[in-house]
C-alpha cells in the first residue's frame, strides 16, 4: 500500500490501476467491462475506490455486478445502461449542472443512450432523457421542442440510417454529440452506415464519437456542459 504513495498506479498483476488520471482529467479511470472476468472487474473496482470516491464500470454484465457488489456494498447497477456506479461524495461536494439532453431514435438504442446519461450524471450533470423519437415519425421529435430548447448540449443516439443528429442539429443552436449505434442488420455493417451518415451531416454544430460509445458521448457532454463561463475580451 505504501508504494501507492510513490507510484501513480497500483499493479494488480493483470492490470495497472491509474490513480493519477483523476488529477489529469478530473474524473477517475473508468473500467471497460467487456472481456474482463467478474473477479477482475471487482478487484480493479476495489483498488480504484481506495483512491477515489467515484467509480464507473461500463459494459458490465449482471455477473460482474454481483462480484462488485459483494465487495462494494454501495455499488449501483443500471441494467439497461449496463453500468456499475459508485458516488461517495457528500451532497454538498456536488455542484450539479443542468443542461444535458440525451435523445435516441429507437428502443434498441437505449443501452447506449443510458450509458451516456449515467456517465454525465456521475460527472455532476442533470440529464433529461427523451427516447424513441426516430426520424421516421418526425412529429414525436418535434413534440420535444421544449426539451430541445432547454438543452445546453444534446447527445443524439441512433443506429440504422443515423439521421437523428442531422434533424436535431437543424433545430438547436447548442452542440450536438452524435453517437452511432450498431443497431441494424445487413448493410448497416454493424453501425458503419450510421457512423458515415453522422460524419456527413448537413447540419452544423455536430461532433461524432465511436459506434456504441455512449460513455464517450456522455463524458464529452459533461465536459462541454461544465465549461466555466466564457471570458469576454
Amino acid at each position: 500500500m505504501d508504494r501507492l504513495r510513490d507510484l501513480p498506479y497500483e499493479d494488480l498483476d493483470f492490470a495497472k490501476v491509474d490513480h493519477h488520471r483523476e488529477l489529469r482529467k478530473g474524473f477517475p479511470e473508468v473500467i471497460f467491462g467487456l472481456g474482463k472476468s467478474p473477479g477482475q472487474i471487482a478487484s480493479i473496482a476495489d483498488a480504484l475506490l481506495k483512491q477515489s470516491d467515484r467509480l464507473l464500470v461500463t459494459r458490465a454484465s449482471p455477473e460482474a455486478y454481483e462480484a462488485v457488489h459483494s465487495k462494494i456494498a454501495d455499488a449501483a447497477y443500471d441494467e439497461i445502461a449496463r453500468t456499475i456506479a459508485v458516488d461517495r461524495r457528500q451532497p454538498s461536494e456536488r455542484k450539479v449542472v443542468s443542461g444535458v439532453l440525451v435523445i435516441c431514435a429507437g428502443t434498441a438504442d437505449l443501452p447506449v443512450a443510458c450509458e451516456a446519461a449515467v456517465t454525465a450524471e456521475l460527472m455532476d450533470c442533470e440529464v433529461e432523457r427523451v427516447f424513441d423519437v426516430g426520424v421516421a415519425g418526425i412529429h414525436r421529435l418535434l413534440d420535444q421542442k421544449d426539451a430541445l430548447n432547454r438543452a445546453r448540449v444534446v447527445v443524439a443516439v441512433a443506429g440504422m440510417e443515423g439521421a437523428l443528429p442531422s434533424v436535431v442539429g437543424g433545430l438547436v443552436q447548442v452542440p450536438v454529440i452524435a453517437v452511432p449505434t450498431s443497431v441494424g442488420y445487413g448493410a448497416s455493417f454493424d453501425g458503419l452506415a450510421a457512423l458515415l451518415a453522422m460524419l456527413n451531416s448537413c447540419a452544423t454544430g455536430i461532433g461524432v464519437v465511436n459506434i456504441d460509445n455512449g460513455f464517450g458521448a456522455g463524458y464529452l457532454a459533461a465536459v462541454i456542459n461544465r465549461l466555466p463561463q466564457p471570458q469576454l475580451d
Copy 2:
C-alpha cells in the same frame, strides 16, 4: 436499312442499337452519354429516332447536345438535368398521369433530381418538383405537406447523410424511391454514406437505386405511377 426489318438491332459499328427494347419494356433504349463522343451520341440518337418517336439521352454535355441538335432539330436540352429529349407523339397519343413528386435535399442534388423528373415526364407522368428541403431545416420539408399528400409516388434525392427518404417515408403512405447522390466529401466516399443510410432506413415503403441514378428512379416512379387499377378479388 432493309436488314432492320429482320434484325432487332442496327449495327453502327461502335454500338448495336436495340430497336426491340420499346416492345419489351414500353420505352425505347436510353443513351447513357458519359464516355461517348458527341458524334457517337448523335449517330445513335439518329438511328433510334428512325424506329421510335421518343428519345432520351442522359449525362449529356452541351457539346453532345449541339451535335444531336444539328441532326435532330426538335431535340430539347435540359442544362441542369443534362438530358436531351425528343417526343414526337401527337398530344392525343399521350395520356399523362399526375402523381410523381421529385424532392431533393440540396441544390447540389439538382442534376440528379431533374434527371429523374425529365425521365418520368417523357414517360407521360406529371411531375411536381420540390427542391432544397434537406432535413437540417426540417420545417422546409414539413411546409410541403400538401405536395406530399398529393403524391402517388415520391422520388427522394439526397447526398451527404442521405436522411431525406427516411423522414419522407415517415410522412407518406405511398412508395418512396430513394436516390443517393455523390454530393459530399471526405467520409461520404462518393455517395456510399448516403446509399447505406437509405438502405438502412427505419421508415417503410422505400426502394433504393444506385448512386446518382436519377434516370433509374424516374423510370421506376413512372412504372409505379402508371400501373393500371388493381383488381379486387
Copy 3:
C-alpha cells in the same frame, strides 16, 4: 391503461409501443424479433393487439411463438418465414388485391422470400410464390412466363451473385423490388455481393431494399400494388 388515451404510445418499460403508426402509415407497428426475449415479444405483441386488429412479428424463433401463443391464441406461426401473424378483421373488412409475385433464386433464400410474402398478404395482397428459379438454370425462370405476366409487382429475392432481379427486370414491364440475401460465403461478404449487383442492374424499373429485408420488400410491394387508380389529366 387510461393514459393510452392521451399518449400515442404505451410504455412497457423496455419499449415504447407506438399505437399511432397505423394512422400515419396504414399498418400497425411491426415487432423485429431479433435480440428480444420471448417474454418481451409476447408483452409488446399483447399491447399492440389491444389497439390494433393486426399483428406482425418478424425474425421470430419457435420459442418466441410459444410465448406469444400462450397469450394470444389466434397467433399463427410460419416456420420458414419466421413470422408470427394475427389478423382479427372480418373477411368483409378485407379487400384483397391480387398482383404480387414473390420469386427467389435458391432454397436458402426461402426465409426472406416467405417473410416478404407473409407481409404482403397481411397487407391484403394475394401473393403468388415462385421459388428456386436461379439464373444458372435460366429455363426454370423462363417457364414462369405466365406468373411473370400476371404480376403487377415482383419481389425478386437472391443471394450469391444476386442476378435474378436483372433477368426478371428484362422480362416484365412492372416494378421489381430486389432483395439481396446473405446467402453465400467467402467473397459474398454476407450479402454485399448481391446488394451491389442489384444496385448496378442493367435492367430498368428496379428498387432495392436492405440485405435480408423481406419485410421491407413485402411492405413496399403491397404499397405499390394497392395504389389507387391513376388519375388521367
Copy 4:
C-alpha cells in the same frame, strides 16, 4: 425583390438562398465553394449579404475571390484557409470570446486548420493558432502547455495517422474537436486512416468531424466556446 419579404429564400435559378438560417442557427448560410463557378459564388454571396451582415465562403479559389471582390469590396480572402469572409457589424456589436485553440500536426494540414480558425473568428471567438506540432516530435507539442491550458476548447487537426487529438486529449480537461485531413498517401485512403484513429481515441472528451471539415470544427468550437454560463441547480 419584394418576394424576399414573403419567402424565406431567394431563387437565383441555380440555387435557393436560405435567408432564415441565421435565425434558426445564429449564423447565416455558408457557401461551399467547391464545384461552383466564380460567377455563381459571387451571385450567391451578393444575395446573402443583402439579408445578413456576415458572409463566409469556404473552399474558395483565387478566381472565386476575384469575382466576389468585384461585387463586394470589403470581402477578405485568406489564401491558406481558402475562405472569403465579410463582417459588416459594428465593433460594438461584436462580443468576442477568447478560448479557442486551433492546433495542427503538419504544414500540409494548414488549409483545414485555418478554415477552422477563420470560421470561429467570424463567430466572435478569439482563436489561438499552434501549427506543426505532430506527435513524431512530441516535445514541440509539450512546449505548448501554456496555450493548451489557456484553451476552453481545442480543435486538433491531423492527417496521416491522426494521433494528435489522442495526445492532446490526454493533456487537457476541455473538449477536443478532432479533424482528420486527407493529408497522406497509400494506406491513408484519403483521410480514412486518420478518421478511424480519431474515432478510436483512447483519450476522453473528443468529438470528431468529417475529413477535411475545418469549417464544421470551427463552427462547433465556437458554439461550445460561446455557451452561456451553466446553471447550478
Copy 5:
C-alpha cells in the same frame, strides 16, 4: 548484342526485356502499354521482335501505335481492343484451333472483350465473337445457343451487375472464364460489384480474372483450348 546470348534479358535501361519467357510459357513477353511513353513502347517492341516472331502490346494508344509502326511496318492496330500485334510466322507454322467464344454484355465492354479475342487469336485460336447480349434482354443470349454449343471455352465479359457468366455457366458444359469490367458508376465501385458477383456465381465451371483483364482471359482461354488430348488411364 552478344550478351543476349548469355543473359536471358536485354537491358534497355528503363526495362529488362525477358527473352526467355517464350520458352517457359510458350508465348513471348507482352507489353502492358498503360503508363509507358510511345517511345518506350516502340523500343521494347523492337527489342522483343528481335528474339521472337510474335508481339503483343495491350492498352496501346493510337500514339503508341504510330511510334511502333514507324519502326515495325507489319504491326497491326486494333482500335477497339487497343492492341498492337505482330505475327511473322509462316502460315504453315500456325496450327489454329477453333473453340474460343468471347461474349460480352454491353457495347461498353467491347474493349475488354476484343482484347481477349485478339490475345487468343495470336495464340492460334479461332475466336467467335458475340457481343451485346446482356442478361436484361435474355432472349438475345438464348438466341446464341448454336455459338454456345460450338464453344470449347467461353470468355464472358460484363460490367455493372456482372451476371452474364452465371447465366452462360448454366447453359454450357465447358469452362467459362469470367471477366468483370469497370463499366458502371456509383455502387459499381469501378468493377468491384461485377467482380464479387462473378466470384459468387451459383453456376459451376467458372474461373474469374481481374477487372478489365481481357488479356488474361484470352490467354487462359487459349491455354485451355489448346490443351492436348487427355490420356485415358
Copy 6:
C-alpha cells in the same frame, strides 16, 4: 413418386431437388452441407440418389455423415475434405482421365484442397496431391517439378498472402485454378488478402474461384481436364 416423371424436381418441402441438372451440366446437383441439419441432408441425398448414380455433399459434418450413412450404406466420408460421396457406376462406365494436380500452401488449407480433389475424382479425374509447399520454403515447391510437369491442369490452394498460384503460374504452361482460403488472421480479412493477391497475379493462365471454394475449383479442373481433343482447322 410418379410425379417425379413429370416434374424436373422433387419437392421435399424444405428443398426442391433438381433432377435435371445432370442432363444440363453433366453432373448431378451437389448438396452444400453448411446450414442444413443432418436429417435434411440425408433426405435430400436419398432423393438425389434415386435419380442419379453419383452423390456429392460438401461441408458435411461427421453428424451429417452418420445420418446419410444410416440411409445410404455405400456413402463414403472424407474427414479432411468434409465430403460425403457415392459412386454407384460400374468401373466399366468410368473413363478416368489423369492430369489434375491439387497443390496447397499449408496444412490449414487441406480441407479446401481435399474438397477440390474429391470433387475432381468423382468427375472421373485422376488427382495428384502435393500439399504444404508454401512459397516461404520455395524449394519444397521446386522439388515438385515432375508433378508440375505431369499436370494438365493445376488447382493451387493458399490462404494468408495467397502467393502460391503466382509462383506455380510461372512454372507451368497449363491452366492454373487459384483458390484463396480463409486461413489467416488480422489483415487477412477472412481470405480477402489471398483473393486479391490471386486476382492480381503477375503470372498468366490463372483463373480464380471464391474463397474456400474447393468444390468449384475441382469442378472447373475436371471440366478443363476432360475437354475433348481440340479440332485443328
Copy 7:
C-alpha cells in the same frame, strides 16, 4: 523414424512437420495453436522436439498446455502470452544479447506484447518490458526515457488508434516494429484502425506487422537485434 533422415519433414497425417526450417531460418518451426486440438498440438510439439532443442507454441489455451505438458515435462506456459516454450540448450550454448524493448499502450494489449517478448527471449534476446504507456497519458511514456535510450530495437504494441509507434518513433533512433492489436470496438474494425494508423506514421524508422502478430514482431526484433556487426568499407 528412419525416414526422418531422408525426408525434411515428418508426416503426422494431419500435418507435415518441417524439420529443416531451423537450418534455413535459424529457428525451428513454430506451432500456431489456434484451430488445433490440444492432442494435435501435443503430437506436433513432440515430433518437433525430437529434431530440435527449442519449441514454441503460440495462441495456446491452458488445455493445450496440459496436453503438451503431459508429454513434455519441461514445457513452460505463459498464461498472458498464451505461449508454450521449451529450451533444452545448455546455458553455455546461449549467447544472450540485450537490446529489445517491448512496449504497449494498454493492459488489453498485454497478450500480444508478451507473445513478442517470449518469442524474442527464446531467440536469445534480453527483453525489457514497459506496459500500459498509451499516448493519452503521454507522461507515462516520457518517464520511460531511459528504457527507450537503452533499446537497440523497440516493439511498440497498440490497439484502438494505434498512435504509440508514432510517438516512440519520434523519440528513438533505432528501428521500431509496430504491432496493431484488435483491441477496440466499433470503428476499430478489429484492428484495422490501428493498422492503418501505423502504416501512415509520420515518424521514420517504423516497420509494421499483421494485427495481433506478436510472434512476428518478436521474431523480427530478434533478427534485427542479433545482426552481426556491420562491415565498414
Copy 8:
C-alpha cells in the same frame, strides 16, 4: 538568422523548417515534394541546407529539380527515383556500411525501389540493386542467391500480388522490409492487394511500410544496417 539560434525551426511562412530533427533522429528533415510548388521546394531546401550538410527531396518533378538546382548547384537529381539529393560532407566524414539489398518485382516498381536505394545511400549504406525478379519467373530470383546471402537487410518492393517478400523471407535469415507499390489495376485497388499480401506473409522476419513508401523503407533499412554491434551479456 539570429532567431535560428533560439528557435528549433525557421519560419518560411508556408512551412516551418525543423532544424532539430537531425539531432533527434540522426538525419535532417526530408522534403516530400508532392503537392509543393518548385519554388516552395527550392526555398525549403535552401533553408535546410543552411543548417545541415545533407538534403533529400522525394517525389520531386524535373521542374522542382530545376528550381532547386538554380539555387543549389551541387544538387543531384535521380530521374527514376524522383529524388534530389545533396551531400556536402567530406569523404572522411562518411563511414559507409555495406549490406543493404534493394530488390523489386517489376520494372514499374523501379521508382519506389530507387527511392529506397537513394535514401539508404545518403544514410551511408552501400546498396546493392537487383531489379525485375518477380515471383512469376522464380528462377530469376533464385539466380540472385549470392546477393541475398551478402545482404544484412533486404528491401523487397512489389506491386500487384505483392508476393516477393514472402519468397525472399523464406530464403534469408536477415530482416526483410516489404514495400507494396500501387502498380497494378482493377482489384489491386491502388496497392491494397500488395499491402494485405505482405502483412499476411507466411514467412518470418518481415516488416511492412506504407504503399509506395520507398523513402520509409530505405530509412528503416539504413537504421537497421547501421545498428552498432550487439552487446553480449
